[in-house]
Subunit: 68 residues, 2 copies
DNA sequence: ATGTGACTTTTAGTCCGTA
DNA sequence: TTACGGACTAAAAGTCACA
């Protein structure tokens, strides 16, 4: 079970469904855009509080980002 | 919304429901017992992979740990 | 059996660039 | 607009002694 890839896929799917760019999402979540890209590609291991900021920016709960 | 406290409460509740000590949970999740204690008290900001290890040791999904 | 502070080591997360 | 690398800084991971 590769949780980083699961979270990455969820973030990308939700972001694209909202017609947002990585840059816009990064701005809303107050994160670096290269870091958001890394998360979407499953290369990063984000902390709970980063997941919470991404979830808020996407209008979902943190749990939604970790759902398979 | 204090996600660290929410996760901490969930971990503690699930652990106690299983009649496990912090030490037993720490062993199963391959973490230090003082670190598990810190998470339960909402003092730590665990990463996705640490949450996944705790969830596995508790027999739930990582999303269950972040549920309010 | 758990809470806590003070640590050191490792990695998360930022900022710069190129393509 | 995104991927990716290098160099950096902030914070998480992980450990310990003691209450």
């Amino acid at each position: 079970m590769d949780w980083r890839a699961i979270v990455g896929g969820n973030v990308r799917r939700l972001r694209q469904a909202r017609q947002m760019t990585q840059e816009q999402l990064a701005f809303d979540a107050d994160l670096d855009l290269t870091y958001v890209g890394g998360i979407e590609r499953g290369k990063r291991n984000p902390s709970l509080l980063v997941l919470a900021r991404l979830a808020k920016a996407l209008g979902v709960t943190p749990a939604d980002l970790i759902r398979e």
